[in-house]
Symmetry: C2
Subunit: 306 residues, 2 copies
Amino acid sequence: MNVSARIVDGTEISRAIRAEVAAEVAQLRAAGVVPGLAVVLVGADGASEVYVRSKARACREAGMHDRTLHLPAEVTAEELYGVIDGLNADPDIHGILLQLPLPAHLNPKPFLERIDAAKDVDGFHPLNVGRAFIGDPRGFVPATPAGIMEMIRREQIPTQGRHAVIVGRSLIVSKPLMSLLMAPGPNAGVTLVHRHTPDIAPFTRMADILIVAVGKPGLVTADMVKPGAAVFDVGITRVPDPADPRGYRVVGDVDHAGVSEVAGAITPVPGGVGPMTIAMLLRNTVEAARRDAARTRKRDRRRAAP
Amino acid sequence: MNVSARIVDGTEISRAIRAEVAAEVAQLRAAGVVPGLAVVLVGADGASEVYVRSKARACREAGMHDRTLHLPAEVTAEELYGVIDGLNADPDIHGILLQLPLPAHLNPKPFLERIDAAKDVDGFHPLNVGRAFIGDPRGFVPATPAGIMEMIRREQIPTQGRHAVIVGRSLIVSKPLMSLLMAPGPNAGVTLVHRHTPDIAPFTRMADILIVAVGKPGLVTADMVKPGAAVFDVGITRVPDPADPRGYRVVGDVDHAGVSEVAGAITPVPGGVGPMTIAMLLRNTVEAARRDAARTRKRDRRRAAP
């Protein structure tokens, strides 16, 4: 057998979503609303700065308003609360994103909770986490799991009665995914295994849909994958590579070459799940702007009523 | 092989927890705080009324204050909001429980969200759902999954690196359990399967801990259980039984006699998971009272400061 898996091209899918977002932004602008995203970056972190710049560029390309607030690493908790309160009150800002990690002296939890849940387009506020868990559509789903669900839908990967296996138990990716995949609609069964599972292979081999989000290159090899499975590789690890001008290349958790010969579909790294996250973040921000506009209209109608 | 599983006696465990709760209540009373639980019951529903009476009795036995508000089935949304607002503002009430189901004309969601999250001892408010999901200890965990985790702890059933399989996907039982079992601490792997899973047996046979919460008598038979597994039967179904003076008896989802010969431990129905729920509800209410007392002390100290 020497089948080759279909490559799920995240760059292409995210481009399509960003074009749809741009069309929705144009509609909102025509109605006088410019969706705005604020990104709060504390201190200097190379990877975060690159990521924040990509977000800002993607916003502008979609016709959205963006604002980046770069605060010094030694910012106090009171100052950071003040910045968040200001953005919460700012009618031009519909989405607020606190770039993580924060400097070590700041625990992110109270700041994430300070963000107005209606502007929490990252979906990290416990109220949104709870709503997403319950299946309440007012909750914002974090960008990475939302992006994977969107890839599954657009690639028409069947989920009904199939079994999904998630490796890793992160709060931002794995746990929301579990909840989304088993929900009415997708109706998949789910398994989640992690570092404390002595042997993950008996589980990964049961997966019709396999999602690996650990950060360990080469963790999943061909013998651990069910023939025909759809494999989503969420891992992003820099490995030294003297042949690359940057001195490193980025790899996932899946042995891509080997698994491609067994799987039915597979996401590459880079160019798979990664590009989806910014697209989904833009979509959440447009959705926040749309809801805000609807609330404003309702309020205005109420005021105008005799 | 004719081993017989250890019976996990929920009645006995819940009695021990209620005694612990009573001791904590006595301490709080000595400090001038009487933990109070309010139960709001709308309309007449036989099963709900029985359950509400048991809760009230359990409160009194533990030395707590209880209040049952029985509203007519034709109560309006505004009236019900008013009742909840009153309880939210009442300093004698630390826990508020809206007994479900509500009459058909009332959607429970906005009422559950109206309850002050600090008094939501049922753990149904999305903020508490989110906190429990994140592992934030301020969230209240719903009584049934909390009760099962407590049985696992007290019976010293190993979870670290073991695999738990949950059958059924209810929001109140299965999904929170999944989250609790995989969390740091228990560190179990988890699988959740449900009505859309074509064949659950290959999954249930992998379970070191098997939790069945569906409501289908006889769903799980001995051949579907791994030898030595701990089996928690959450199902409660009334089946006609002319030999019983009530004309029915209550059974679980597990073929108890058959599975007892394979499993290492098993909960009976009745007398297994059921009795744990009221005990955990009392514990959540005492916890709410304790937090409220701590907040009051803090506020008083701040006022007393020069």
